[in-house]
Amino acid sequence: MARFVIMRTAWAIPVLLAVTFLTFWAVKAATDPVQSYLRTNPRASVEQVEEYKEVHGLIGSTPEQYVRWLGNFLTLKWGNSIKGNTPVWPDLKSALANSLVLGTAATVVGITIGLGIGILSALRQYSKFDTLSTGAAFVGISIPPFVSAVLLQVFFAIILTNWLGTNSPVLPVAGIYPPGQQGFDLVLRLKHMILPVTVVAIQIIATYSRYMRASLLDVKESDYMRTARSKGISERRVVVHHALQNAMIPIITVAAIDIGSIVGGLIITERIFEYKGTGDFLLTALANGDFPQVMPLMFIIVASVILFNLIADVTYAWLDPRIRLG
């Protein structure tokens, strides 16, 4: 097991470097960092431009640039944004924090409900509930999140509001707080999160209810389930101790991978609900060609994908004795 973990970790590092190098190249091509800087700062002196290039490693060939950039990145010299010339890290940090709050809430809600539905569906295969939830999951998987987001906005901001005859929307459809709000307010914060969380959770519920159903049905057919029943133990024990334990192994693995893409996976929802997270941060930065802001975030996104892929691999091995000991 230890060897397995070491091998996989050792493999993850070159992969991280290779993928982030490609990312560096692509982001550089897509943002054109020096031109973007000059456009925003047309009167920048030669020294300022040189310093800008130095901080963001934009000197030499692309591989050289990458190495310089990576050095600065790892030593936390992240520099300032092009637009507004503010330090990158504080803004990015608050965006990351907001995204993690939204992502975690949606993941917890989504996976809990999704697994519950999937388990019930599989245990009552071909029942009305099963048919209904399978159909609903199909709709949930099919609907692009931006469509569900705008439809929810229309429903809560226009239709329901008109119907109830209130002046303000029933649920807030934009932002993290109402305009002008100062300081922390839990109730307002939660109210603003309801719709974004719903949009993300719809997808998670739909996906995980399908996963769980398929996995549990797969296990249900297996011979060891019959062996377990032949022991005369309670059905509850058969389901929990034998079926679920086996069926959860692939689910946990998939979940680990999905958690890795939270940071980069909320773009749509965040943009539509004007939720100040990484998605909003990234789109704004890309629109400004703001390489100093884009690249650290991209690195974090890629690194978290690779890290959680690694975690998924290791968890899978740890949960399944056939691999752990094999």
């Binding site: 297996s222 011979d223 060891y224 019959r226 062996t227 377990a228 029943r229 032949s230 022991k231 005369g232 133990i233 309670s234 059905e235 101790h241 034998h242 334990q245 086996n246 192994i249 949960l319 399944d320 004795p321 056939r322 000991l325 094999g326």
Partner: protein, 325 residues
């Protein structure tokens, strides 16, 4: 028979499908006595496994079961699963065909045996562990204490089947159902497993229902044999009688398809088993039977005594006469 540990009366099992009912078992009755080893022989689809899955209460929910199944005097048909569970695993236990898949891959072997003990005996976890190790030793697993902490994938096929047997005998059942326990194993391992089963029977005195399609195996170990075809019993009797003088053309066909010691050519039975959605009228075997006559298409033939055995062939007199001539 008062000493029957398993008593089945007019058992019928069918599965509803879109195209009608698949009649897997069509009215069979039999007893298995204490300490008896009965061989149940038949092709795939003959209803032999379904019969015993019904005894275990392990058929899918949609299966329709009528008739009576009594294990150690306890009726099992038409009563709540909760009651059946007290019998299942305790009075009657089952060894399955494929030991590779019959054990739970994520639980330690010892734990799986312990679970069986804890389900029916009022013992502490530690006592159950000790007992599980004893059981593994009893079925011939070396270093049982170490082996108990291993997972199924660390066991060979034969070792897994031994573990299955240890699990099945954990509660000293009155009857053990062995569903093709050697089919999935190598020939040399098969012989070992048969030995284990025989010695278990000897030591524990449990009755055994040994389900197989392999007449050769049955000939070696069974006291009595029951041949099944298309959800009915074709023939039943003492093992040596059935082998020396089979009365039912189907049994004969099975015997002819066995390679004998001289290595003479084996003759397979022509055709294939019937579609159980619409089984042929009368004797289901008549469509493949060389002796079939008009009378065979009449009523569903029941078992009736013929000499020392019981047979379901209505033309048995004529057929035997033909053979003598």
């Amino acid at each position: 028979m008062s000493d029957a540990v398993l008593s089945v009366r007019d058992l019928r099992v069918s599965f509803p499908t879109e195209d009608g009912e698949v009649q897997a078992v069509r009215g069979i009755s039999f007893d298995i006595a204490e300490h008896e080893l009965m061989g149940i022989v038949g092709e795939s689809g003959s209803g032999k496994s379904v019969t015993f899955l019904a005894v275990m209460g392990l058929l899918p929910k949609q299966a329709k079961i009528t008739g009576s199944i009594k294990v150690a005097g306890q009726e099992l048909v038409g009563i709540p699963d909760k009651t059946v569970r007290k019998v299942r695993g305790k009075k009657v236990a089952m060894i399955f065909q494929d030991p590779l898949t019959a054990l739970n891959p994520v639980h330690r072997v010892g734990k799986q045996v312990e679970e069986m003990i804890l389900a029916h005996q009022d013992v502490s976890d530690r006592e159950a562990t000790t007992k599980a190790i004893e059981l593994l030793e009893m079925v011939g697993i070396p270093q049982p204490a170490t082996r108990a902490r291993q997972y199924p994938h660390e066991f060979s096929g034969g070792m897994r089947q031994r573990a299955m047997i240890a699990m099945a005998i954990a509660n000293d059942p009155d009857i053990l159902i062995a569903d093709e326990p050697t089919t999935a194993l190598d020939t040399t391992v098969q012989a070992q497993i048969l030995e284990v089963i025989q010695s278990i029977q000897h030591e524990l005195g449990a009755a055994i229902a040994f389900i197989t399609h392999d007449l050769g195996v049955v000939a070696r170990i069974a006291d009595r044999v029951q041949v099944m075809y298309a959800g009915r019993i074709a023939e039943r009797g003492e093992a040596q009688d059935i082998f020396i003088r089979p009365t039912h053309p189907y049994t004969k066909g099975l015997l002819n398809s066995l390679p004998d010691s001289q290595g003479s050519r084996l003759i397979p039975i022509p055709g294939s088993p019937p579609n159980m959605l619409r089984p042929p009228s009368g004797c289901a075997f008549r469509v493949r039977c060389v002796h079939a006559a008009e009378v065979c298409a009449g009523e569903l033939p029941d078992l009736r005594p013929y000499g020392v055995v019981e047979t379901a062939c209505v033309r048995v007199d004529e057929i035997i006469a033909e053979m003598v001539l």
